[in-house]
């Protein structure tokens, strides 16, 4: 059995997750294998000096060329949202903003239309790849799930990470790769906790 949700680029070919088949416990094994395989391959590609600390990665992110005056608004909003969630200085408005991002992703299966992305890519000299936005949204979902334990956020995190893994070749910078690993790690931890709580 293959973990089909990451088997094709889900930016180009979204999965709608409707009436997905049931395979019993072995499905969870192949899910964990899929995540571990991604982590191993990314870590192998990364320089040993790369830190896996969310705070330092976010600082790097903000300082990078992507986030100077040429960066796109959505990336900046997502970064600001992550900062607020991480420092626990978020408001109801911030949660609503996260909800709006989730709604867009869940309904449209993308975070920006083609033109939007093309313009963003044209403006930036380095990485403004679409996949980076998904990584940032995944981190925001992860942070808010940690606080709320509302499965809506865990659910979205799982779908975003499917997409991120499926588009691995499009992750260009080591910062984005490390952030993706953090997102996958947190998702695996939440899934394991939930499984222990509900099934074991």
């Amino acid at each position: 059995m293959e973990y089909e949700y990451t088997s094709e680029n889900r930016i180009k070919k979204p999965h709608y997750y409707m009436y997905t088949p049931y395979h019993g416990r072995k499905f969870l094994d192949i899910y964990f294998d899929d995540r571990k395989e991604f982590k191993t391959s990314i870590v192998k590609d990364l320089d040993n000096k790369v830190s896996f600390s969310l705070v330092s990665l976010l600082v790097e992110c903000k300082d990078s060329e992507v986030l100077n005056e040429n960066s796109d608004e959505m990336t900046i909003s997502l970064l600001s949202l992550i900062e607020k969630l991480y420092s626990e200085k978020y408001t109801a408005g911030d949660v609503a903003a996260l909800g709006a991002f989730i709604h867009r992703f869940e309904v449209k299966k993308n975070l920006g239309d083609y033109l939007d992305l093309k313009q963003a890519a044209g403006r930036c000299s380095k990485e403004t790849s679409e996949v980076k936005r998904y990584i940032l949204l995944a981190l925001a979902c992860s942070l808010y799930y940690e606080k709320s334990k509302n499965l809506k956020y865990h659910n979205c995190l799982l779908k975003l990470n499917d997409l991120i893994i499926s588009a691995k070749s499009e992750i260009q910078s080591s910062t984005a790769m490390a952030l993706a690993v953090i997102s996958i790690d947190s998702e695996m931890r939440y899934t394991e906790q939930l499984y222990r709580q509900k099934v074991k």
């Binding site: 049931y22 395979h23 019993g24 499905f27 969870l28 899910y31 309904v107 499965l151 659910n155 939930l194």
Partner: protein, 228 residues
């Protein structure tokens, strides 16, 4: 004795849920006066349909029980054809068992008819998609609510809501879900047949949570938790 309810119609796609609704209503001898069947023009499976649903057994069920029906070859509940068909009917309330994920738009909601939907989740806490699974995982229970549809997903006036015992060893999508919906639907229709009215309570707009289609990992954990 079978009682045909002159005010009650049904808008249905031929799937398992629609069959459960009709069978359960038949069990209670409460029949809709008319059913508008939306059939897939491409003969391909739509979300929630199984290969056996493409056979004509839903129409057969209606025919066998002398329920008047009409078939429109579309899955667009908001299409002009559907709106016109609904508009000219005399039934005031339509039991809704339309295609998964469809949202009724102004044109059909302004026909003067009410669309009675049964949602597998306690409202307003569990709006949206696949809420049975979220209910099981977050509360260890299930809920079901009857409401009249509005333009906003699961935010229309609520008729009633109830908790349902957790199932064991059952197909949640194709057995448990349509069964709990059909049972509540029957109770609502039965009450209507006695009182001649359906009372509702408005939902607070800002309270509640909307969920999106569940990821297979969470779906597996929910199902495995029931097998425990």
């Amino acid at each position: 004795m079978k009682m045909t309810l002159d005010d009650i119609g049904m808008l249905a796609v031929p799937n398992n849920r629609s069959k459960y609704y009709i069978e359960k209503l038949l069990e209670k001898s409460l029949l809709p006066a008319y059913v508008l069947v939306l059939d897939n023009p491409s003969n391909q499976l739509t979300p929630g349909q199984r290969p056996q649903d493409l056979e004509n057994d839903f129409s057969d069920l209606l025919q066998t029980n002398c329920i008047s029906y009409e078939v429109i070859r579309t899955l667009d509940v908001n299409s002009e054809e559907v709106v016109e068909a609904i508009k000219k009917r005399r039934e005031k309330i339509f039991i809704y068992s339309g295609p998964g994920g469809a949202i009724l738009r102004k044109n059909i909601l302004q026909t003067g008819k009410k669309f009675l939907h049964v949602h597998p989740g306690r409202l307003p806490d569990y709006r949206g998609s696949t809420t049975i699974y979220y209910h099981i995982l977050q509360e260890g229970s299930c809920g079901v609510s009857a409401l009249f549809l509005s333009e906003k997903i699961d935010q229309g006036p609520v008729i009633t809501t109830r908790n349902v015992p957790l199932p064991s060893d059952t197909d949640l999508d194709y057995d448990f879900d349509p069964r709990i919906r059909a049972e509540l639907l029957c109770d609502v229709i039965k009450l209507y047949s006695k009182r001649g009215r359906i009372d509702t309570v408005m939902q607070g707009g800002k309270s509640g949570e909307t969920y999106y289609i569940i990821h297979p990992v969470l779906r597996h954990i929910a199902k495995l938790s029931l097998e425990k």
